[in-house]
Symmetry: C2
DNA sequence: GTGAAAGCGCTAACAG
DNA sequence: CTGTTAGCGCTTTCAC
């Protein structure tokens, strides 16, 4: 743990190159309007001295930080049990890195952390924020609004005025643009899963929901209901069990389901982890998958789905791409900066202020 | 994505409270030596204006950033498949938060990223760094050394001069202290696992290693060999298969093992994920676990071990605590800052510059 | 094109 | 105890 060395300053580089600080600054920041040979001399001096600009000093004058906060508002352990979060981070990291931005990670573990995060965001330490895993009653959106930090949400926020989630619609450019977010087509994905089960000839199709205080869970439930109502013309409430996106929750739900409807012949689980729990209970009860009961998950966490027994049919969403897209949207908004118009304006695939990524059904053995 | 508002400055607070900037600064930074009523007036002004200090300006003069970089040098997908990384991050985050430090996440995906990270670290943007997942040939340690950033490593670095990993020994205070790191007792944990298998009456005990370019894998292998040599008086090389910490790798290794030694009666896998793969192959080959073959993992990733079939006996390490400890060590070193002495000096549980956390054998059904 | 000068918002001596 | 005074290292008008 060596002592931090004091780095050379602009001044030093200027002296060595025999120019003024201003010139060095210009060269370091792209070199516009500095003649070739001079610029070369400066670059040489920079090289020799190992000069690295002091970001604090720079930020002080530019008011930019080239840093983005990633806020993960998941007090529970769930985030840590499934790789969702890591994949999302990876996508974000790649995109930020490509634009020379830093990633400041803000984990919210408990109630008290909200204030801390809000303070940080308000402190003008970052140029923007990427926020995940919002629950319906989360105070964060309000705090962020107050802080006035440009923000992109991961997953449709619950308070947005546009509950449509199934496809692009004409966006009214004049209204309050509402929150900017990136999500996958939860509702459409759920529909395709249930339709697939229907196509398999299944009729008593159950749904194990996710945590219903999150829009992703609600949207998937809606998709399930869409198909049950439209295609089968019925929507038996006994076939829906509320759960929480965890394997344990999936087990409990599956047991409940087996009790309620012993003749269930298919299960659409709100995510892969839940499906895993269901699979285990089905096996314990001697039901064969998919012969007796077909099972479909959601997410396609490859290590989970491929290693499941039997390998899990699921609805895939490109999580890493979602992360990347969130970062891109934020960065674009930051550079655009015409504060009147919505920042996602001109963005392809945008439905209103949300960008909805498509999902794909991945067929494996379980359905 | 609202426009960032321009925040009030110290100046503004000073004016409103009718004092000088210096006084406000004092109050904001702990309020030492400011009389009660005055301080109260300042605090009121701060409150009313919603003043938040500008960290950039502060850093510029204090040369502190209250920020720590977390570098994850795992180009592969492995980190994202197991929750190890997330747990570690959580521990770090908690500790940093408690000390009002920010966490800057630096993910290394490819070769080019090393330079970027090195530049960032050298740029004096953070007070210290926490570095993970080092492989033997990693250029990072050198780069970090050059950057002169106080650093604590997660896992014993390969080039450290103290390969002992099995317990505390007298540390020589005068020599080059070497890298500071936190690790679990990989070797001791491996020993306890193998001893447990021996105690079960098993004799043909195999080991599926981790990626041997990481010290954790090497240390676990050493622990295995210790017991095989000491207790059983032999060390059959055919019983050791090199693998890579992944479930897929575990499957391949188990197949290989079954081919080499069909009469194997126990497997100690380098981690839980590997054990999972082994379990699957054993089942496919009709071997009962634990009756025919006992299986032990390492890590105790609860979602993995408890959901395994059968539930996995394993060696538990407290990953979150490791993260927390790394952060604590770094922060302590930063505040101590007597640059001669080793920064971990005076730290309990320290063997040399490494802190080794104990492991526990968790008995479940698989062994 | 290039340099000189004026701060960005804050802390840390140093006076008073 | 409190205020005054210098900068921290950089960017950015503004002259030249």
């Amino acid at each position: 743990m060596t002592e931090a060395v004091s780095r050379p300053t602009l001044e030093a580089v200027a002296a060595r190159a025999g120019v003024s600080r201003a010139t060095v600054s210009r060269v370091v920041n792209g070199g516009d309007g500095v003649r070739g040979p001079l610029a070369a001399r400066v670059r040489k001096a920079v090289e020799e001295l190992g000069y690295v600009p002091n970001q604090a000093a720079r930020s002080l004058v530019t008011k930019r930080h080239d840093a983005v906060a990633v806020v993960i508002a998941e007090p529970e352990t769930r985030v840590f049990a499934d790789p969702f979060f890591a994949l999302q981070l990876r996508g974000i990291s790649k995109e930020l890195t490509a634009h020379d931005n830093q990633l400041v990670l803000l984990l919210i573990e408990g109630r008290a952390d909200h204030a801390r995060v809000a303070r940080y965001l308000a402190g003008n330490h970052v140029d923007g924020a990427l926020v995940f895993s919002l629950h319906l009653d989360d105070p964060l959106p309000g705090l962020i609004q107050d802080a006035g930090v440009p923000t992109v949400f991961g997953g449709r926020p619950g308070w947005g005025q546009d509950p449509r989630n199934a496809g692009p619609g004409p966006a009214r450019a004049d209204a309050d643009p509402g929150p900017v977010y990136v999500d996958c087509d939860n509702r459409g994905g759920a529909r395709s899963a249930v339709r697939h089960l229907v196509g398999l000839g299944r009729r008593r199709i159950a749904h194990i929901t996710g945590a219903l205080d999150q829009t992703s869970a609600v949207d998937r439930l809606d998709g399930y209901r869409d198909v049950m109502a439209e295609v089968l013309g019925r929507d038996d409430p006994r076939l829906v069990v509320e759960s929480d996106f965890t394997p344990g929750g999936g087990e409990d739900a599956m047991r409940e389901l087996l009790g309620r409807c012993p003749d269930v012949d298919a299960v659409f689980a709100a995510n892969d982890l839940t499906a895993l729990g269901a699979l285990r209970v089905l096996r314990a009860h001697g039901r064969r998958v998919p012969e007796d009961v077909a099972v479909i998950g959601f997410d396609d966490m490859v290590p989970v789905t491929e290693q499941a027994d039997p390998p899990l049919t699921t609805v895939r969403q490109d999580i890493e791409e979602m992360g990347r897209l969130m970062a891109r949207l934020l960065l674009r908004g930051l550079s655009g900066d015409r504060d009147g118009g919505g920042p996602a304006a001109g963005c392809p695939d945008a439905a209103g202020n949300g960008v909805i990524l498509p999902t794909t059904l991945i067929r494996r053995a379980s359905a």
